[in-house]
Symmetry: C2
C-alpha cells in the first residue's frame, strides 16, 4: 500500500461543467429527467408503471395527524415486497417496500441540479415534497411510510428484507444535497432526527442489527462529515463490524437458523473485513464496499482497506463487463462466479454501475491508482449513460450486451432484458439514481489534497480553489484533445490520469508517471495541452469468458461501441469483422469493413467455410443503443 | 403427400436383437435398470430421492378396503404438485401428482423385457406390483392414488394440472405390454375398466375436457387396437378434437378466463389441427403429436396429418439439437422459439427425445420419408442413450450440450444442468421411460406393409414373418457394414433407409432411391452386403443458431461426439480444431489435431490473434459423457 495517499473529491460548487459531450446530457437531466420524475413520483405519467411514492407520504402524514389527535389508525399487514391495488387495502401502503427512497433520490438530484443551475420553480417543487415528507415523520424521528401507514409496532422487525435503513440512507443523502443547495435545513433536521433514533436503537448493548440493503452506512458517514456528530460515524462502523457475525442477526430476528449460503445475497455471509470476492446483489454489494472504504479511511483501518482492495480486484479483473456493467445474473440481481459474463443474459443493472462509481471514487480518495478512474470512466460512459434515452424520458434498468427482441418476448430466461427503454418502473431505483449521479457529475472529476490536484475524468470544467483557477477545455470524446488553462495561486502538483485505453499521448509539460497518473509540477500560471490519441480499437475478452471466444468488441476512447439491426440488418451474429479491419470514424460513428455470412437454412450440415460477402459494418456508441425502436444489438462481434 | 403409404412396425416377438453395440445396453437395462427400478419404486435405494410410488398404491388399497367395509376414509388436501414428509400428513399421498405412472412404466418395460428374455422371478415381481395396483382401483374403474387416498370427490376436477388421465395412459400401455408378455389379463382388465369410465365421462354431451398432460390419447388408440373397442378410438379422437377449443375447458373447470398464452404449455392454445409449430412442454408436445398421427392415420385425416407434418418440420428444422434433444428451455421444460438452441442452458429432457421417437415412428408408418428414421436414430444414439450411465444405475433427466460443473453449482440459471447422472429423481419420469424404450427397441427397427419391409434402424436382428426369415448382422456403429441374410418366402420389396449422415455407400444389389430409402426387389433368398461409409465428420449448425457461430460438432455415423475435461483438461472453450483436421478413429474414440489457446488472464486487452499451441483433442461419444465423475463437457468446439 505504498501508493496510499488520501485526497478528497471537489464539490459541486467548486467545479462548473462546460463540456461539448456532457452539456446536452446534463441539460436533458435538468430539463427533462428531473421534471419527468417529479410527475412520475405522483403517478402523473400516462402509460408508466405506478410509483405511489408521494401518495404514500401523504397517507403517512394523515396517520401522523390522527396520532396527534389521539386517534389510533387502522393497521394493515406488513408481509409483501410489493403492494398494489390487487393485493392490499386502498388505504394501505402501495408500491415496493423501498418506495420512499425514490423521492429522496429525486430530491438529491434536485439539490445537485440547483447547485449547478438555480431554478426557483424547481426549488419550490422540492420544498413541496419536503413538506409532504416531513409531515410523515413520527415524533421519535422514525420515517418509513410502509410501517407508519401499515403497522408502526413492526418497525425495525425485519431488517433483512425491509428497507427502513435503506430509505433512511437515501433520505440523509437527499437532505444533505438540498441543504447544500438551498440552505433549507428542514429535511436535514428530519434526517438527523431519524439518524439519532437509529444510533439510539442499534449498537453495542442495543439491537445488534444491520441493514439488509446497505446504504445507511455511507449516508451516516456523510452526515457525520456535515454535522461532526461522532455517533453517526460510530454507528456506520458498528453496522460494518456487526455484519456477517454469527449467530446471524438476520437469523435471530426471524427465529431461524441458516447457513452462510443464505446471506451471500446481502453480503452478510461473513464479516466484511474477511470478504475477498464480490458476491450477492450487486447494488447492495457496491453500496457496502463504498461504506467499507469510508470506514477504512475514517479509521485508517488497513485490514478493512485490504478487504476493499481484494473485492475491487475481483470486480475489475473477473466480474465486470467491458461496459462497466456488474452483477451478471438476474437471479438475485447478483454477481455471478468469476468470468461468468454472458452477453445475452446479462443483468448489469444501471444502479450497480452507479454504485461502482461511488466505490471507485472512495478508493481513489484513499490510494493513488488510475484503475479507479478507469473503471469509473468505463461505467459512466457506457452502462450508466445507456440507462437513459436521448430525451431523458425512458430508462434501462438492465443493460445487456446482446439483444434479440424475439428472445426477450419468447424466452422467459430473458424476460429481464428489455429491447427498448421503459417509461418508468414500479421498482424505479435506476432512473432517479441516474439523475442524482449525472446532476453531481462535477464531484467525480477531481480529487485533491494539500499538494496535489488529481484529474480523474476529462470533462470540460472551470474550477477555483486555493491552488489555482483552472479551465479544462475538453474534446476528450471527439479527438482526445484536452487543454488546461491554469492561473496558479501557489505551487502544486497536477496529477493526470492516463486513460487505460490510451497507448499514445502527448503532454506539453514535463511529467513523471506513477500509478497510472502523469504528475506535473505547477509553479506558475500556464496552459497545458494534452493529446490522448483516440483510435478505434479491437478489444478481446479473456478466453476464460466463454461467451466471447472468437469475438471482439470495438472501442474508441472510453466508449464501447455496438452494432444494431437498424444499421446492419437482422442476424447480427452473421456479421464478422476483417481480421485487420480498416476503420472510418465520423461524427461518433465507426464504419469497418467486414463480412456477412449467407443465411444458412439447413440446421445441421457438413462443415464448409462460411459463405461470406464483403460488407461495411456500422458501429454506434453502446450508450446510444435502443434509441431507434426495438431491434437486435450486440457489443461483441465475430472476428 | 404423394409419399403417403401406410406401414406397421414389427412387434417385439417378431424381432430378436443380437447386435454388438446394443447387446450390452439392452442387457444393462434387463439386469440392472429394471431390478434397480423395482427397488427404487419401493424406496429401497440408499441415497436416492424417494419415489413413494408403491407406498401410494398400498395406501390407496387400504382406502378401498375401508370403503368395502363401509368405513369413510379420512380426507387430505389436493392442492400441491409434490407431496412429501414436510408438507402433508403421513397417511396422505406422497410424491408428485403423476407418481403412479412410474410403476406403470416399469411394468411396461418388464413386459417388453419378458418378451425378449423370459425370467420367472421378474414375472413374479411384476405380478406382485400388479396385485398391489389392482387393489387400489375403485369399483367404477377409477384408479389414481392421489385422489383415492386424499379426496375421491375431487376426481377429474383439475384436468389441467393433475395427472389422472396421464396415469391412465401409462397404466394402459403397461397393461398391454404385460399382457402381451405373460398373458396375464389382470392389469389389462383393470385398464379397460378405467378406460370405460373415461369414455363414459368424457365426450359429446358429457364432460368436454381433455388431458393436461397428453398420453391417454395414444394409449386409448393402442387399447382400441388390442380390444377392437371403437369407443376407445373415438374418445382419443374426441380429446384431440376438443383440445384448444374456446372457451377453454381448462378455463371452464377453474372458473377463470385466460388467453392462448396460458395454454401453449399444454399445447391447448389452439386446436391441434391448426397447430403448425411445436410449443410448450416438450414431452407433452411429442405425446400429443404422436396421438395426432395415430388419429390422422386411423381416420385417414389429411388435415390432421398436415398439422403433424408442419409440427414435425418445425422440430426437425428449427427446434432440435444435433443430439436429437428437444425442448431447449428449462422454463416449462419447453420448446423455445425457432433456432433458440443454447448449449449450456439446454433442457433436452430424456423423455422428450423418447417421445420424439414415438412421434417419428408413427410418422414413418404413415409416410415414406427417411427423415423420420434419421431423427429417430439421432435421438436414440445420443440423447436417449446419454440418459443412462454405463452401469444403468444413474440417469440424466436433462441433456445439455455444454457443461461447466462450477456453473451448475453457482449459477442458478443452470441449476437444472447436472454435471453427473443422478441415482433417482423425485420426479422420475425419465429412467423408467428409458427402460421401456430400450426394452422395446425391437419395435423401432422395421415397419412393413403387404409389399414392403422398411428398415429404419440398422440394429442386428433376426426376424421371421410372412415375407422372409431375415438375419441382419450389423457393424453399423463400428464400421458401417451391414449384412442381410434373407430366406425369401415370397417376393417383396426391401426398403433400406440411407442414413442422412452417409454420403457414400455400397449395396450389393440393384436399388432405386425414393424418399431417402433404397428400394430393392427381393425375389429369392440371398445375402445383401451394405457398406455405409462411416467417416468422422465436422458438422456445422445453421448460423441462425447464435450459440454455435464459429463452432463445429464432430460426428461419426449416427454418433455425435463431445470433448470432456477428463481427456482434454479444463477450459474446453480454449480448444480449437484445425480447419482441416486429421482424424484418428480407434475403439470408438476420435483423436484430432487442434490447438489450445494460452489462458488469458487479463479481462480486456487489445485484440491480437490468440496465442495457441498445437495439441491433440480427444472426442468420445456424447452418450458416454459424464461417466468419469464431474467434469467439463462440450459438444461444439471452435474451428
Amino acid at each position: 500500500m505504498n501508493s496510499k495517499e488520501f485526497s478528497n473529491h471537489l464539490k459541486i460548487n467548486d467545479v462548473k461543467i462546460n463540456d461539448p459531450f456532457w452539456n446536452k446530457i446534463t441539460e436533458v437531466v435538468r430539463t427533462n429527467v428531473i421534471p419527468y420524475q417529479y410527475l412520475a413520483l405522483q403517478d402523473k405519467i400516462d402509460g408508466a408503471d405506478k410509483s405511489y411514492c408521494i401518495e404514500n407520504f401523504i397517507k403517512a402524514g394523515k396517520v401522523i395527524e390522527k396520532l396527534k389527535k389521539g386517534i389510533e389508525p387502522e393497521k394493515f399487514p406488513v408481509d409483501k415486497w410489493e403492494y398494489n391495488e390487487n393485493n392490499c387495502d386502498k388505504n394501505a401502503f402501495h408500491g415496493w417496500v423501498f418506495q420512499d427512497s425514490d423521492a429522496y433520490k429525486w430530491l438529491e438530484a434536485v439539490g445537485y441540479s440547483l447547485q449547478n443551475h438555480y431554478d426557483k420553480t424547481l426549488e419550490e417543487k422540492a420544498n413541496e415534497y419536503i413538506d409532504i415528507i416531513c409531515k410523515a415523520q413520527l415524533d421519535n424521528g422514525y420515517l418509513d411510510t410502509l410501517y407508519i401507514i401499515n403497522d408502526r409496532d413492526k418497525a425495525f422487525s425485519n431488517l433483512k428484507d425491509y428497507h427502513e435503513l435503506y430509505c433512511f440512507g437515501h433520505m440523509a443523502e437527499g437532505a444533505l444535497s438540498i441543504y447544500n443547495a438551498t440552505g433549507n435545513r428542514k429535511l436535514l433536521d428530519a434526517a438527523c432526527r431519524f439518524a439519532d433514533l437509529i444510533c439510539d436503537t442499534f449498537g453495542e448493548n442495543k439491537i445488534k442489527g444491520y441493514p439488509g440493503h446497505e446504504i445507511a452506512e455511507m449516508a451516516l458517514v456523510k452526515l457525520y462529515h456535515q454535522t461532526g456528530k461522532k455517533e453517526y460515524l460510530e454507528t456506520a462502523k458498528f453496522f460494518i463490524d456487526e455484519r456477517g457475525k454469527r449467530p446471524y442477526y438476520f437469523d435471530t430476528e426471524r427465529g431461524v437458523e441458516s447457513t452462510a449460503d443464505n446471506y451471500h445475497y446481502n453480503q452478510a455471509h461473513i464479516p466484511p473485513r474477511k470478504q475477498k470476492e464480490a458476491v450477492g446483489h450487486a447494488v447492495r454489494g457496491v453500496y457496502l464496499y463504498s461504506a467499507m472504504a469510508d470506514i477504512a479511511r475514517a479509521y485508517n483501518d488497513d485490514g478493512l482497506f485490504d478487504a476493499c482492495k481484494s473485492i475491487w480486484n475481483n470486480i475489475e479483473n473477473k466480474k465486470m463487463y467491458i461496459t462497466g456493467g456488474i452483477g451478471s445474473t438476474v437471479d438475485g440481481e447478483a454477481f455471478s462466479f468469476d468470468y461468468d459474463l454472458p452477453n445475452d443474459l446479462a443483468y448489469a443493472e444501471t444502479c450497480a454501475s452507479i454504485g461502482l462509481i461511488f466505490f471507485a471514487r472512495r478508493m481513489a480518495e484513499i490510494e493513488i491508482n488510475a484503475h479507479y478512474g478507469d473503471v469509473m470512466e468505463r461505467a459512466l460512459y457506457n452502462t450508466v449513460l445507456s440507462g437513459m434515452s436521448e430525451d431523458g424520458k425512458s430508462f434501462f434498468y438492465v443493460n445487456p450486451l446482446e439483444v434479440l427482441p424475439e428472445a426477450s418476448k419468447l424466452d422467459s430466461r430473458k424476460r429481464h432484458i428489455k429491447p427498448v427503454r421503459q417509461k418508468w418502473f414500479s421498482c424505479a431505483c435506476c432512473p432517479p439514481n441516474l439523475a442524482r449521479l449525472i446532476s453531481s457529475l462535477n464531484e467525480y472529476i477531481y480529487t485533491e489534497n494539500d499538494n496535489t490536484l488529481f484529474v480523474n475524468q476529462y470533462i470540460g470544467t472551470e474550477l477555483e480553489n486555493s491552488k489555482a483557477h483552472i479551465v479544462l477545455t475538453s474534446y476528450y470524446i471527439e479527438s482526445g484533445n484536452v487543454t488546461f488553462k491554469i492561473n496558479c495561486k501557489k505551487p502544486f502538483t497536477l496529477a493526470l490520469r492516463i486513460p487505460s485505453w490510451c497507448d499514445e499521448y502527448k503532454i506539453s509539460e514535463k511529467f513523471d508517471i506513477k500509478n497510472g497518473y502523469a504528475f506535473i509540477e505547477i509553479k506558475e500560471s500556464k496552459n497545458i495541452f494534452i493529446q490522448f490519441k483516440a483510435e478505434v480499437k479491437l478489444i478481446k475478452c479473456s478466453n476464460r469468458v466463454r461467451a466471447n471466444i472468437g469475438k471482439v468488441a470495438v472501442t474508441r476512447g472510453p466508449l464501447v461501441y455496438c452494432i444494431e439491426e437498424a444499421d446492419n440488418g437482422k442476424n447480427l451474429q452473421m456479421l464478422r469483422l476483417s481480421a485487420t479491419p480498416h476503420f472510418k470514424y465520423e461524427n461518433g460513428i465507426i464504419l469497418a469493413d467486414g463480412f456477412r455470412e449467407k443465411e444458412d437454412d439447413i440446421l445441421y450440415s457438413e462443415y464448409t467455410s462460411p459463405n461470406i460477402k464483403e460488407c461495411t459494418i456500422k458501429f454506434i456508441p453502446y450508450y446510444h443503443w435502443g434509441n431507434r425502436g426495438e431491434n437486435e444489438m450486440s457489443v461483441y462481434i465475430k472476428i
